[in-house]
Amino acid sequence: MSASPSTTAPPAAGEAGAPTAREKRGAAKRRTPPARRGERLVGYTFMTPWIIGSLVFTVGPMLWSLYLSFTDYHLVLGGEWIGLANYTAMFDDPMFGRAVKVTLLYVLLAVPLKLIASLAVAMLLTQSRRGIGFYRAAFYMPSLIAMSVGIAIVWKVLFAQGGPQDQIMSWFGWDGGGFIGNPDVSILMLVLLSIWTFGAPMVIFMAGLLQVPDELHEAAEVDGASKWHRFVHITIPMLSPVIFFNVLMETVHAFQLFGPAFIIGGTAGGPAWSTLFYTVRIYALAFVDLRMGYASAWAWMLVLAVGVVTLIMFRAAKNLVYYAGEDNR
């Protein structure tokens, strides 16, 4: 293919002979020279604080919650082993379906819109213009503050009854009031908040865009390809690994949205459960209803669901993502 020589030729060559080379390296690793072993011990010693930290604060609690999910643990009264009862109860729980619906709706709205917005802005910001550094910083800025409590509160004011959104939209004949009190559109507030904070995927897109070799564009231009054609047939395929990465990360994040939803809608996911995100419901089950065991089962169901979604994406990516240099695809 025409792309491979210009971009990452040396690693491509390495990858081509990969199977045998990797095997050799693996075999070599098994026989570590003693001097290396001492070095490794020192390395681990320096890592101890982090290893302890992650065992105590991440792995430990996770295993504990896995255990709790098989009990009817009550935050105050304790609990007993009840097997899979929590997991089966979930499907009879009227709130489960609601929470899943709200969360999926959010994922389906927020992820594509955010990625389209961030790609569009990234394309503008990779042009060489005067003062481009300022614009890059300015567009990244919201991401630094967006997940903060402060912004969620500002959002509440913006979308209040008679607030800026209500006023501006009513000039155009809107009579639905502020988004805050309207269950039909309240989720859009959170989608907008997510779109506004596209800094992280934008930076990644920018890095990806700068990697696309100019020769390809120049060659296509000489052949008379329009801007749109170049975007669809050069930019998108060359960018596909980056797009895949962003889709994956943003999807996983979107499933986990909690902070802004919690501040805007409260534990009740107001108004009328329209912002009752899965994570918000987990919080309410655990800390309002005190049903820690059941809440843990919900949490593990989310882990499972996100795992399955990720797996599906990886499968789909095999056919959709083009890695320059991997000519065998």
Binding site: A35, A160, F287, R291
Partner: protein
């Protein structure tokens, strides 16, 4: 094995450093605890729910306590009601409760039944409480809390607006329908964005009142189940449905954004509520040129208003406290010290102790509360037993599910069935 002497030394150095760190940490644990002097004070923590105003006077009283007890340092903290309980619930799981904290009757069992609260008999002074106040401080016969003040339900209303719009002052025993008719008279006269009264159906306390007026109760005597039928809940939610549809009470789209009560914002002319709220609502309403008054809540039965004297707030001491003595000193001080009482005033309600009642400054509004309580004294009946632990969650659910009805997302029947499912699950979770 090849041993590299340089590396070995570095390794032993690291081991040594680790050992030294462990020793230092162990040494730090060997402290004998504070001596309780001005230089090495005992530290206790005290938390409550409430607003800035309450925080100001409470801190003032605590400062006075610290100046009178040099060996004790009090860390204070406060939050609004829902946040306060969410925080404490989480901390309860890790046995990390403040030494002294403000308690609500509805949460007493949740905390008290699991040994989180220190039994207070003989720990704090109990000889000075006004009659009937200690009844609701006991859990299964054991004293685990002391009341700060008492309250009961009432109708807080704008006497000036009622008068101006030709509505007679509500007299004890008037019916829910009459109250609804009053609201229907008031709302159209008050203009856009103002209403004669609030929608009362989302509060489980008000439904409890309504059930008591029929001789019933919200929970069964043992607190293990709901003591009413889904049909009754549908009926209760129906009591304001006509007003809601006609726009006589504020719509949920509006009230969901309120961070203050409707009376204080000059948007409501009346509201069912706890009588001790009246004196704190009154000053802002007076600034608006209005006057507040108290009346008995509407009833189904003129001879039974369903009222009982409830502790508006209680103080408790954590069962895990290491400084029970200092904590008890603070409790006694807040409830019994004349100077402290003068500072705290009636912010938390009319004091529950005789010393409190003698030393608190009674202004016109507080007098109004006292007069009201005296006027309904003949209607006060035995308080229900401390509600089950799940009541906090049930209270939240009750409002949440009623919201579905207000938004028209569910019919009252569907919502009532859902409430029963949810409440029964919650009650079952603690059996």
């Amino acid at each position: 094995m090849i041993r590299d002497p340089y590396r070995l030394r570095r390794r032993s150095l690291l081991t040594g450093a680790a050992a030294a760190a462990t020793l230092a940490a162990a040494a730090a644990c060997g402290d004998d605890g504070p001596a309780g002097t001005a230089d090495d004070p005992i530290e206790i923590s005290f938390e409550w729910w409430g607003d800035e105003n309450r925080a100001g006077i409470t801190k003032e009283a605590v400062d006075l306590f610290m100046s009178k007890n040099e060996g004790i340092k009090v860390q204070t903290n406060f939050a609004d009601f829902p946040t306060y309980w969410e925080g404490l619930t989480g901390r309860m799981a890790s046995r990390d409760l403040p030494d002294v904290f403000q308690m609500d009757y509805s949460r007493l069992r949740q905390f008290g039944s699991s040994g989180m609260l220190l039994p207070l008999e003989g720990v704090v002074k109990t000889d000075d409480f006004r009659e009937g106040f200690l009844d609701t401080a006991k859990l299964d016969g054991q004293l685990v809390a002391v009341p700060i003040a008492g309250n009961t339900l009432g109708l807080i209303y704008r006497a000036d607006l009622f008068d101006a719009h030709g509505v007679a002052a509500p007299a004890p025993g008037y019916s829910w329908d009459e109250y609804g008719a009053d609201i229907t008279t008031l709302t159209p006269q008050m203009g856009e964005g103002k209403w004669g009264g609030g929608d009362w159906c989302g509060q489980y306390h008000f439904m409890e009142l309504w059930l008591r007026q029929q001789g019933g109760s919200f929970y069964t005597e043992d607190g293990k189940a709901l003591n009413f039928e889904a049909a009754q809940l549908v009926e209760w939610w129906g009591t304001s449905a006509g007003l809601y549809e006609a726009g006589m009470v504020p719509p949920v789209e509006t009230t969901i954004e309120w961070v203050e009560g409707g009376l204080v914002q000059d948007k409501l002319a009346s509201e069912i509520g706890w009588d001790n709220f009246m004196p704190s609502f009154a000053p802002p309403v007076e600034e608006l040129g209005g006057t507040l008054a108290l009346a008995a809540p509407p009833s189904l039965d003129p001879s039974n208003l369903g009222l009982y004297l409830k502790p508006s707030m209680q103080l408790v001491i954590s069962g895990a406290t290491e400084q029970a003595e200092a904590a008890a000193k603070l409790v006694d001080f807040l409830l019994g010290d004349p100077e402290a009482i003068a500072i705290l005033g009636t912010n938390r309600g009319v004091p529950a102790t005789n010393t409190g009642l003698e030393n608190v400054e009674i202004d016109a509004n507080t007098q109004g509360v006292l007069d009201y309580e005296e006027s309904v004294a003949q209607y006060l009946t035995t308080p229900p037993p401390a509600p089950p632990s799940a009541t906090g969650a049930i209270e939240v659910k009750f409002g949440e599910i009623y919201q579905q009805v207000q938004y028209g997302e569910m019919s009252a029947q569907e919502a009532a069935d859902l409430f029963f499912t949810e409440a029964e699950t919650l009650l079952a979770a603690e059996q």
